[in-house]
């Protein structure tokens, strides 16, 4: 267990965390402001990847594919919000869970119908096919690019929320939507924009994950569950909470998967370690969430304090 290995795993954790943040940001905003639990967010992530794959097949240009995917997700997000999601505001969370559960099934099957069951192919952009050497380790430059992009988005999100009028409206809407509407702001449009923004972020995450992971129907659900864990740990409605929680979860999960089995092998027999190690590593994130919920149910960085 060298320092280089730990460093590499830290970077891996950071990269995973950043991807989670992209998903969690949209999810937590929609939840905090419209109080809407959106299980179909993972489907937007999946469709972003599919749109990019198709766009790449047509154009051969990764940048174009990226733009096309984000545009597609924004359009889809807007349409979805106007047609389906907005009819469910103010309802019980159970209705949200059910409705979006149905949408997940629908989108997964539609993806299979439109694109077929085989895994799809999105290549690495040519500029990122190498590795970067930093701090003595050799790290895939594409993953490094993901980290940089994710951090840039985080900064952008902060600037949006705190330095623009739209951000101000969003924050106000989180506290008192009725008042915002009474002040003459078109709250319907605001909600639609917000949802589309979340969809765009999810699509971006999907495109960025595309070159690393295979693009296929149902790829959104595992990531979605982890993203839900992130927003619960971070605090519903808080984007900065989602950021910190995403990093914590990403690093914990990666380090856990990497080092727990080795650690266990020091403490217990090899058979036990081989069996319990992966299980414990998978459970780690959920244990973390359970502990946070038990001790501090409002999350680690709840909205309304310092955003």
């Amino acid at each position: 267990m060298t320092i280089q290995l730990v460093l590499t795993q830290l970077l891996n954790g950071l990269q995973f965390g950043v991807l989670l943040f992209l998903l969690a940001a949209g999810l937590t905003l929609v939840f905090g402001i419209m109080s809407f639990v959106n299980l179909a967010h993972g489907s937007l992530y999946m469709l972003g990847a599919y749109f990019a794959a198709t766009a790449y097949e047509q154009s051969g240009n990764f940048g174009l594919a990226l733009l096309a995917a984000i545009a597609g997700c924004v359009a889809l997000g807007y349409a979805l919000e106007r047609a389906a999601i907005s009819r469910l505001y103010g309802r019980d969370h159970l209705d949200h869970v059910l409705a979006t559960f149905g949408l997940v099934l629908f989108f997964n099957e539609m993806a299979r119908i439109v694109w077929g069951p085989q895994p799809y192919f999105l290549p690495l952009p040519a500029a990122f096919e190498s590795t970067v050497d930093l701090l003595g380790i050799s790290y895939p430059s594409y993953r490094f690019a993901i980290i940089v992009t994710g951090l840039a988005v985080a900064v952008g999100a902060y600037l949006l929320m705190h330095k623009t009028r739209l951000g101000m409206l969003i924050r106000a809407g989180a506290v008192n939507p009725a008042m915002v509407a009474a002040l003459g702001v078109d709250i319907k449009l605001l909600n639609a924009i917000l949802f589309s923004l979340g969809a765009a972020l999810a699509g971006l995450a999907g495109v960025m994950a595309g070159p690393i992971m295979s693009i296929q129907s149902g790829m959104g659900e595992p990531v979605l569950i982890t993203a839900l864990v992130v927003i619960v740990i971070g605090g519903i409605g808080s984007v900065s909470g989602a950021f910190y929680a995403a990093l914590i979860v990403g690093v914990a999960d990666t380090l856990g998967r990497a080092f727990l089995p080795t650690l266990l092998r020091e403490l217990a027999s090899r058979d036990v370690a081989n069996a319990a190690g992966p299980a414990l590593a998978s459970m780690l994130v959920y244990l973390l969430m359970a502990v946070v919920l038990a001790l501090r149910p409002q999350g680690l960085f709840p909205a309304g304090r310092t955003r």
Partner: protein, 388 residues
Amino acid sequence: MNKKHIAACAALALAGMGAAQAQVKIGFSAPLSGPVAVVGQDQYDGFMLALEQSGGKLGGQAVTVLKEDDQLKPEVGNQVIRKFIEKDRVNAIVGLGFSNVLMGSLKVITDAGTVAIATNAGPSPIAGASCAANVFSTAWQNDGAAESMGKYMQENGYKRVYLMAPNYQAGKDMLGGFKRYFKGQIIDEVYTQVGQTDYSAEIAQLQAARPDAVFAFYPGGMGVNYIRQLSQAGMLTKLPNFSVFTVDGTTMPALREAAIGTTFSAMWDAALDNPENRAFTAAFSAKYKRVPSAYAAAAYDAARLLDVAVRKAGAQAADKRALAAAVKAAGAEFKSVRGPFRFNKNNMPVQNYYAFQVLNDGGRPAVKAVATPLSAHVDSYGAKCSLP
């Protein structure tokens, strides 16, 4: 549609043969949805291609094929098999999905005695103590390909190897089979979560361990992710890469150039040069516009096996025991696309396992057979089986 009726052929057959014709019903069950749907689809297409080539008949008798999706879930597979056996009264079940789904339905199948031909698996229990006279595999016994790779690496002088596989029965079988024939040093044996998409953590561990070579088993989407991430980390050029069921017909379209430089072992590949295979690969590519995988080949062989078996059984085809015996005997008689084939006493295939390399053919991947580490290989579980 779920249920395909080849009724037109049946009518023709009836008119043509004149004499009283029994209808042969085949129940086809495979994962047709979800992340491994491509595997199930390949099997179905392979089976139907053979059927089409024999005029919609098996052994001269008209055939109805009922197609069901087991969704890679043992519970669903159990229901589907029950339906085939109790409601549809099929003569034979083909497909049977992955090892876990197969094991979930095993009791129902062995209790009923209906002929069941697995075209995707051969888990060690059904090769050993739980073997049955009516359960066959035209694919492989799970350990076979891994054993072959182990022997190949042993013979080619690799001393320190790092192993990786997903954490389920087939994963353990693969690595166990590898270790049976590879006598060098195993640096580490890593089991990852089934369905895991990101292997960055494990790849970092692999880099730090500095082995001579890495051997892995990652079927379906997992294989695509694993190989591509290895390639992105620059590991494919630095570390000799060996695998089974990771680089194959189902994953190559997504891997493309990323697979170049890897070596894998299987009982079949489209690159195999024998007359049956050349005909099969050409027909499959022409009809379905893609290169077949070993799963398609296994299903194609299953149909051809049934053709010989049903002809052998003749009027007795409706009798479960007679058909099972006919299938067993037909194993040595039908011409497989993979080369020599027969059934072991536990109904597992006795076949060659080849080593293939993915070479760079002007920037595009091309598969080439480089060795036959195991010929006419008998699996290691036969002794535990009590069949004669």
